[in-house]
C-alpha cells in the first residue's frame, strides 16, 4: 500500500523521503537480514521496521482522528507514563541519520553533536513523519547543545514544550524533577482535555513497567554463552521500544524471549562460544544508527549489552507502584526517573557502577565507549571511565565518531585491533 497521500498531508518532502526510505531499507537489508541464525521472533521487528514510516504512522493519524494526541520526545527523562495516563501516544524522535545537515547548520554551529543536528535536519528537510504527527514535541534541558537548540527549534515546529531538569542528584534537584513532572502532567491534561486519575496513571505505569520488564528479560538472556541474539538485533529492539505500540511490543518481545530460552537450553546461538563479548556504552544510538554494532559483529565479536539510552540506561528501572493518589504515584515516578545516570549529571558515579555491573552480569570481555563527536558530557566521562575500568582489568576502547561513513575504515581498524587485544 502506498502512504504517499498520508505523507503529503503531513507536509513531508516526498521525493527526499522516498530516497531516505530506500537508503534505510538497503541498509537494513545489508546489516540485519544477512545475519546468520537470527531468531524467528525477529520477523516481528523486520515487519515493524518495514512499516516504520507507514502502518505505525497511520495508526497515529487514525488515533488523532479519533481525538487522541501524539507526544514526541527526544530523551528518556520524559515520563511516558504521564503521556499514557491522558490516553495520548508517546513516540521517540529518532535523529540517528545524517540528513539535512546543511540546513541544520544554518541554525547550529558545525561543531554541534550529530544527534542535535539530526533533529533539526529531519525537521527542516521534512523527513520525519513522527515529528510531523506530534501534537507537541517535548524538549528537555539536558546538555547545552539541546538547551540552546530548543531556543531555535521552537520556531520550526508547531508546538514545543521544554521540560527543565536538574544537573545534580541533590535534594533540591529532586524537588525540581518533581515540580517539572507535576507541571508536565498539568500541561498534558490541558492538551488532551483529559484528567489524570489514580486509575489511569496506575494502568499507565503497569503498561510501561511491562514493556521495560520485557527488555530487561531480553537483557538477562544475553548473559548466556553462546549469545542467543545479536547485539544489532537487540539494539534494534531497544530503539523500536520508543515508537511501537507498547502492548504489542511487550507481547512480541516476550514471545521472542520464550524462543531465546529454548535456544539457550539447546546451546544454540548467533556467535561462536568463544566470540569476544563486548559491552557498548555511551551516547544514545538512535534509528538508523547501527554503524558501530555492525562493525563489531562483522568482525567476529558479539555485543552482550548496551549501556545506552537506547538500552539499559533508558529501560533499566521499574516504577514501584506505591500509593493510591495521583500525587503519590507521581512521587513513585520521580523515584524511578531519578535513578537515570545520564552524563549531564555531575558527579555521575552511579553510571560507572552501572557499567561495571553490566560487565559482570553479562560476562563482557571489554567495553567499547561510544561518543558522538562534540558531545562533551559523554566524551569527557569516557576518559574518566577508561582509566577506572582499565585499572579494574577491563579492556576499553574509546570511539568518537558521528553519523557519516567516511571514517568506517579507521573505525574498523580500531575495532578489529580491540578484538585482537581481547583475544590474545
Amino acid at each position: 500500500m502506498s502512504y504517499h497521500k498520508m505523507w503529503a498531508d503531513l507536509g513531508m518532502n516526498l521525493e527526499a523521503h522516498d530516497q531516505l526510505l530506500q537508503v534505510l531499507s538497503d541498509g537494513y537489508q545489508k546489516q540485519f537480514l544477512t545475519q546468520k541464525n537470527r531468531p524467528a521472533g525477529m520477523q516481528y521487528l523486520d515487519f515493524v521496521v518495514s512499516e516504520i514510516h507507514g502502518l505505525r504512522v497511520k495508526e497515529l493519524v487514525d488515533a488523532q482522528q479519533a481525538g487522541r494526541k501524539v507526544v514526541g520526545s527526544f530523551c528518556v527523562f520524559v515520563p511516558e507514563e504521564l503521556i499514557l495516563a491522558v490516553d495520548a501516544i508517546s513516540v521517540g524522535l529518532c535523529t540517528g541519520a545524517e540528513v539535512g545537515f546543511e540546513l541544520a547548520e544554518q541554525y547550529l554551529p558545525r561543531n554541534t553533536c550529530a544527534l542535535v543536528k539530526s533533529s533539526f535536519g529531519f525537521k527542516l528537510a521534512g523527513l520525519c513523519p513522527y515529528m510531523e504527527t506530534s501534537d507537541v514535541i517535548v524538549g528537555e534541558n539536558t546538555c547545552d547543545g539541546k538547551k540552546k537548540g530548543y531556543e531555535q527549534f521552537k520556531d520550526l515546529v508547531k508546538n514545543l514544550y521544554v521540560m527543565d531538569l536538574p544537573q545534580m542528584k541533590s535534594v533540591a534537584g529532586k524537588e525540581l524533577l518533581k515540580a517539572e513532572f507535576i507541571r508536565f502532567a498539568a500541561y498534558l491534561e490541558k492538551l488532551t482535555g483529559k484528567k489524570i486519575t489514580a486509575a489511569s496513571l496506575k494502568e499507565a505505569i503497569r503498561v510501561v513497567n511491562a514493556k521495560r520488564s520485557a527488555v530487561a528479560r531480553l537483557a538477562r538472556l544475553r548473559a548466556a554463552s553462546p549469545a542467543p541474539i545479536s547485539g544489532l538485533d537487540s539494539l534494534l529492539i531497544n530503539q523500536i521500544f520508543f515508537n511501537e505500540n507498547p502492548e504489542r511490543f511487550t507481547e512480541n518481545i516476550n514471545k521472542l524471549c520464550d524462543e531465546l530460552e529454548v535456544r539457550i537450553e539447546k546451546g544454540d546461538g548467533v556467535a561462536l562460544k568463544d566470540a569476544p563479548r563486548i559491552l557498548v556504552s555511551g551516547c544514545p544510538m538512535a534509528v538508523p544508527n547501527w554503524k558501530i554494532p555492525a562493525i563489531i559483529e562483522q568482525n567476529g565479536a558479539v555485543i552482550v549489552g548496551e549501556e545506552l539510552c537506547t538500552g539499559e540506561r533508558g529501560a533499566r528501572w521499574l516504577t514501584e507502584i506505591k500509593g493510591t493518589t495521583v500525587p503519590e504515584l507521581i512521587d513513585a515516578l520521580v523515584e524511578r526517573y531519578w535513578q537515570i545516570d545520564c552524563a549531564v549529571f555531575t558527579p555521575n558515579e552511579d553510571r560507572l557502577a552501572s557499567v561495571k555491573k553490566m560487565v559482570a552480569d553479562y560476562q563482557a570481555d571489554g567495553v567499547l565507549q561510544y561518543s558522538l563527536q562534540f558531545c562533551q558530557p559523554y566524551t569527557i566521562e569516557s576518559g574518566l571511565f577508561e582509566k577506572q575500568l582499565e585499572a579494574n582489568g577491563i579492556p576499553v576502547l574509546n570511539i568518537e565518531t558521528d553519523y557519516s561513513m567516511e571514517d568506517m575504515g579507521q573505525l574498523a581498524t580500531r575495532i578489529e585491533a580491540f578484538i585482537e587485544r581481547i583475544k590474545q
Binding site: 582499565e390 575504515g409 581498524t413
Partner: protein
Amino acid sequence: MRFAGFDIGSRTLKLVILNENGMIEEKILPNKYNFELQVKDLLPPDSYDYLVGTGYGRHYFDNWENAETISEIKAFAAGVNWYHKGELTILDIGGQDTKAISLDPAGKMKKFAMNDKCAAGTGRFLEIMAGALNLELSEFGNIALTAKRAEKINNMCTVFAESEVISTLSRGALASEVALGIHNSIVERAIGLLNRVGISQSLVFVGGVAKNPALAYLFRQRLDGEVIVPENAQLMGAWGSAIIARKLWRQNNDLSG
C-alpha cells in the same frame, strides 16, 4: 615454505617473505591506487604457502586461499616484539594515521590509540607541509635540523597549517625554522597520543615517517627513555604479518609455534 606478510598502506605497499629461517624477500612500492593489480603482480599463484594481510587495504585478501588478515596494530606489535622483547611503546606514523601501542613485559598488546579522522600529524601532513615550503620530502627533516630556533606553527589542521606556513614565510621567516616548527608540532601531537597509552622506557618509532631524522631527534630530546628507530621501520607491519603467517601455518600444521 614461503610465508608472506603484505601491508597495503594508503601510500605504499610493503611485502616481506620469510622461510623457516628468516627473510628471503622484501619490497616497498608506491601504492598506485589500483593496488589490486600491483598485489597480483607481486604475489603470483604459488608464490606463498601462507599469507597474512594488513594495512588499510587488508580486506582485499578476505577471500584468498591460505590467507587471513589482521589489523595494522597487531602487525606492528608482532613485528616490533620480534626484535625488541619486553615492555615498550610503539609509535607508528604512517601515510594517513598515527598509532600508539603499548606492549606489556610479555610483548602482549596492552593498549592502543589512534588519531582521529583528520590527517594532522601524519605522513600526509608532512608531505603537504614540505610542499608548502617547496622542499623535497627526503630533505625536509635534514633542513629542519639545521635551524637554530623554531618558528611556532599553531594550527594542527592540515589546511590551516598550510596557509599559516605560507604566511609565516611571506613575513620573512627562514624555511629551516618553519620546518623545525612543523616537526615540533608533529612531535607534540604524537606525544599527546602516546600519553594516552602510557610511554614506557623504550619507544620504538616505526612507519614510513620514522625515516625522517628530525622527528627521531626531537623525540629523543623530549622523552626520558630511549628512542629506537629500527632499520626496517617502514616494513614493520609487513614483517609482523609474515611472522604471524609463519606462526599460523605452524599451528595449522601442528608444529609448535
